[in-house]
């Protein structure tokens, strides 16, 4: 493949061995959209940055959301402040990270039985907060989106868009790395060394090699989202975190052209966002105790579908590919209903908590990730006495090819004729060719990561199609072995881990054709290969 826009990627300046102390300006903890956004923001301002992530990019809420770039209309009634933030941010993002965004437009749809006064207030509220909306005749709306229910009673058009959070993080970190940042995946904070109201260094451990080393930074940014509380606790600070699980379903095809919101007070199962060739239906809000090991349950799935089908009847019968869940990290203000807690972000400078060089950023929304990064970086710069203005507002985020494969059906946008002959598709569902896998492998290795099924899956569409890894997992594993990327028996466990991760996303919605597909998967991987018998 001939790739355009190839960026020279610098080799990381850090070679982490033994107990060496590595020094840097800022250590960012957490590789979600906020963390990678801060990394890019700070490197643009000329600071040295290391970003560590305990697993890999977008492992938390950044990877477990709709991918909806809110116009703000959803929050006009419940949280006007957030609404305005969303509105201005989405305009900036559309300008600067256009390649991660599809400007789908959005509809707010009310069906029979929805509260009349909410519908009546909606246009005025939008006007009041400067969020563009336009009333549309339900008939006309059904022509625009034929799958809308025939019980639709009111429709408003807004400027929603869909955003690919994976591509966003990959591109942000790629850009940061090209400006001298260092990204360490699978690296977990073990402890902070605190002296004189400040963190001296952080001891971190590489999850794969098991080695530890120390990172000494002037400032530490805790951008770990749902895990912000536990990181802060390491520095002896208590943050009262509340975790709210949201589950989402992915359909096998794109049902609507636009993002569809239910025109009512935000609650469960009322958004359907198109993402490439699929649509994503969500969400729920369930209070949970820990942000680890979350997955959608059968009950949640059924509930989301029963809510969603009121707006779009097709959701009852269509095929679902997978379900996933994300955790909204909310800083508790003592309210009972999670939906009432502000979706605005929380930025804490822990100077007040006697730790001068730790900042925590959590909460917020995907739509406002840039603003969160900007505000956080502002504090960091103030601490460093750097007086450079934030530049992410102006400088567009470059698009690199290793980020491209996170989008569905990329290959087929390019003239593929001359290439496909000698470049077999390793993932047939999403048509990811061997050359793309190789590109991604190289990119992972350059960032010091280990190319395995999960890390490749994070950066490409493999395993995300209807077969959910049944065929591509084995093909890519063989490919990795053939290239010598794996040289021991860890491949089997890697395969099992990958399949299990995929499984968590499908087990709650296996019926009809999806069950056929998963049965086939079990026949191959358990029936023939007997993977369930392989012990770690």
């Amino acid at each position: 493949m001939n790739f355009k826009n190839q960026h020279p990627v610098k080799t990381p300046f850090l070679v982490a061995t033994g107990d060496d102390i590595v020094e840097t300006d800022v250590l960012i903890i957490g590789g979600g959209v906020t963390g990678t956004g801060i990394a890019r923001d700070l490197t643009l301002r000329g600071l040295n940055v290391i970003l560590i992530e305990k697993s890999d990019l977008n492992a938390g809420a950044s990877g477990g959301n709709h991918g909806l770039l809110h116009s703000g209309a959803r929050y006009v009634c419940s949280d006007p402040e957030a609404a305005v933030e969303c509105s201005t941010e989405s305009e900036i993002l559309k300008k600067n990270v256009g390649h991660c965004i599809e400007e789908t437009g959005g509809l707010f749809v009310a069906v029979k039985g929805d509260k009349e006064n909410y519908i009546a207030d909606f246009p005025d509220m939008c006007k009041k907060y400067g969020i563009p909306s336009e009333k549309i005749d339900p008939k006309e709306a059904r022509e625009m989106e034929p799958s809308l229910s025939d019980e639709t009673i009111a429709v408003y058009k807004v400027n929603d868009a869909s955003i690919n959070p994976f591509k966003l993080s990959i591109e942000n970190i790629n850009d940061a790395v090209s400006r001298g940042a260092c990204y360490l995946s699978h690296t977990r904070i073990e402890a902070f060394k605190i002296e004189n109201k400040a963190i001296v260094y952080a001891r971190v451990r590489n999850q794969i090699s098991g080695k530890t080393h120390k990172i000494k930074a002037k400032t530490y940014v805790n951008a770990t989202g749902a895990w912000a509380g536990s990181i802060a606790a390491m520095a002896g600070i208590h943050i009262n975190m509340v975790f709210s699980k949201g589950s989402l379903l992915v359909t096998s095809k794109r049902i609507t052209k636009r993002a569809i919101n239910r025109l009512r007070k935000p609650t469960d199962g009322d958004i359907l966002v198109p993402g490439g060739v699929v649509s994503i239906l969500g969400t729920t809000s369930v209070r949970i105790k820990s942000p680890d090991n979350i997955y959608p349950t059968v009950k949640e799935v059924d509930y989301i579908i029963s809510e969603g089908e009121k707006m779009i009847p097709e959701l009852k019968t269509c095929r679902y590919i997978r379900a996933y869940a994300g955790v909204r990290p909310l800083v508790s203000m003592g309210k009972d209903n999670d939906r009432d807690v502000s979706r605005g972000f929380t930025l804490l400078d822990h100077e007040k908590d006697q730790v001068n060089n730790l900042i925590t950023i959590t909460g917020g929304k995907l739509s406002t990730y840039r603003l969160m990064a900007e505000k956080t970086s502002d504090i960091v710069c103030k601490k460093h006495q750097v007086s450079v203005e934030c530049r992410t507002k102006m400088i567009p985020l470059p698009s690199t090819h290793s980020g491209e494969w996170s989008e569905p059906g990329v290959l087929v946008n390019d003239p593929f004729k001359p290439d496909t002959l000698e470049d077999p598709f390793l993932c047939e569902c999403e048509m990811v060719p061997a050359s793309a896998i190789n590109t991604v492998i190289d990119s992972i290795k350059k960032n010091g990561g280990k190319p395995d099924l999960s890390s490749i899956a994070l950066r490409t569409r493999i395993g995300k199609g209807p077969c959910q890894g049944a065929f591509c997992s084995m093909r890519i594993l063989s490919h990795l072995y053939a290239r010598g990327e794996i040289m021991d028996q860890t491949g089997i466990n890697d395969l099992k881990y990958f399949l299990n991760e995929r499984w968590k996303g499908e087990q709650s919605l296996l019926w009809g054709q999806a069950l056929v597909q998963s049965s086939l998967k079990e026949m191959i991987h358990c029936g023939l290969f007997g993977l369930e018998l392989v012990k770690k």
Partner: protein, 427 residues
């Protein structure tokens, strides 16, 4: 008015998977006039290995060295399991029949021996099984210190010699690997196309010359299971002669060539035995008029009506379409028979894909009496001459127990025999 066609026969086999094929084979061998419907392509998913019982109890997560020890325990603990309905003798008889039938169709299988065999798979794991094609049989020669050469083919996705070697390195340190480029084929190489090449003598010669420089000290060779389609053993023997080595095949993921060989063997032999095969035919819900089944076949362009005294349901599970799962319930698709199943969907699957007990949904299916006639919840026979065989049977998580082919062969054999006995004694 569509063309209307009437067929009268002794027995109709609904389904052309492994169980359906065995049933049709048995029925035609007994001289019954047989009609078969279904889609034989599902045999592409068959590994070509005939399992008996590989793992029991499931939570032990260990391979049974001898299936008989597992069997006696299973028969005691799981009275609903198909194996518990019959004796060991019947199982062995059905395997014996199968071997002979396939032999007559030109496909050689090695008869069961005491204890399970373990067959190397393309994932680098060993699969416990009972009967294997002769082309795979030499994997038994693999000992811990064997100098084994593994060959893979560039472009054959999902099979990598290095992968198997790396995974087995600990126990089998002397594995060498070789990657062969197939002349004229760059890019994707599909198993069937490669397998067809193996029947070409010039290709074999070319392959042998490519391999020969690497054969120093090599004692045994493993190749992916793509060695020929119709004359696999012949091709393998020719290659063995050319290289002077013992060679065995390594089964890989579907589309599986050993499965294709089974499909071809069954189809050809059954056609010769005058089994009337209606490919991909859809059946309307059948009627039973007291003495015979009336099956209206929707054959798109013509309406065929089959009248048969007996019916054999071998439609398989979800992939075969025998069972269909709606969001909350599992149904049997042809006769709408009662399906034994977990109470609600949240019990269908575990959160862990590799859960040691297996997923509960895999025990769902049709419950039967001792000759595999479906019964209702009270244990009463639903139709006198209707049998359900193969993977559709309840209480048999065949994927985890590694009991698929055994149960299929046994149930098919038993059901047809029972029908035959009844129809000849005039019962």
């Amino acid at each position: 008015m569509k063309d209307k066609k009437y067929i009268t026969c002794d027995i109709t086999v609904i389904g052309a998977g492994f169980a359906g094929m065995v049933a049709a084979a048995r029925a035609s061998a007994l001289g019954l006039k047989t009609v078969q419907t279904g889609n034989s392509s599902h045999l592409y998913f068959a590994s070509g290995l005939f399992d008996f019982l590989g793992v029991y109890p499931l939570h032990s997560r260990t391979v049974l060295q001898d299936p008989l020890t597992g069997l006696s325990l299973l028969q005691k603990e799981m009275p609903g399991h198909p194996y518990s309905k019959t004796s060991l003798e019947a199982i062995l008889k059905s395997f014996d029949f199968l071997t002979r039938f396939l032999q007559s169709a030109g496909l050689n299988y090695i008869k069961p021996e005491k204890g399970n065999r373990s067959v190397l798979t393309s994932a680098g794991t060993f699969k416990p099984t009972c009967m294997i094609p002769e082309t795979i049989s030499k994997s038994r020669l693999l000992k811990n210190d064997t100098n084994l050469l593994l060959v893979d083919f560039k472009g054959l996705k999902g099979f990598c010699a290095r992968q198997i070697a790396d995974i087995l390195k600990k126990n089998y340190p002397n594995i060498l690997t070789l990657s062969v480029e197939v002349p004229g084929k760059n890019g994707d190489l599909n198993p069937t196309h490669l397998a067809t090449l193996f029947e070409d003598s010039s290709f074999l010669k070319e392959l042998a010359t490519q391999i020969s420089p690497f054969l120093d000290k090599v004692e045994l060779m493993g190749i992916p299971a793509v060695c020929g389609v119709n004359k696999s053993l012949e091709a393998l023997t020719r290659l063995e002669k050319m290289t002077g080595l013992d060679i065995f095949e390594i089964p890989m993921m579907p589309p599986s060539i050993p499965g294709l060989r089974l499909k071809n063997a069954f189809e050809k032999k059954l056609a010769k035995n005058k089994v009337h095969f209606l490919s991909q035919a859809k059946i309307k819900p059948p009627r039973f008029n007291g003495s015979e089944f009336v099956l209206d076949v929707m054959n798109q362009n013509m309406e065929t009506q089959i009248r048969s005294r007996g019916g054999i349901l071998a439609t398989g599970r979800f992939p075969g379409g025998g069972l269909h799962a709606q969001r909350g319930r599992i149904q049997e698709t042809v006769f709408n028979l009662p399906v034994y199943q977990p109470d609600e969907r949240s019990l269908w699957h575990h959160l862990d894909f590799f859960e040691k007990q297996g997923h509960l949904i895999n025990t769902a299916g049709v419950e039967t009496d001792s000759v595999f006639r479906p019964v209702d919840t009270h244990g009463a026979i639903i139709y006198e001459n209707l049998y359900a065989i193969g993977t559709i049977l309840a209480h048999n998580d065949w994927v985890r127990l590694k009991s698929g082919s055994g149960v299929s062969a046994l149930s098919a054999f038993t059901a047809v025999n029972d029908f035959y006995k009844k129809s000849t004694t005039g019962h």
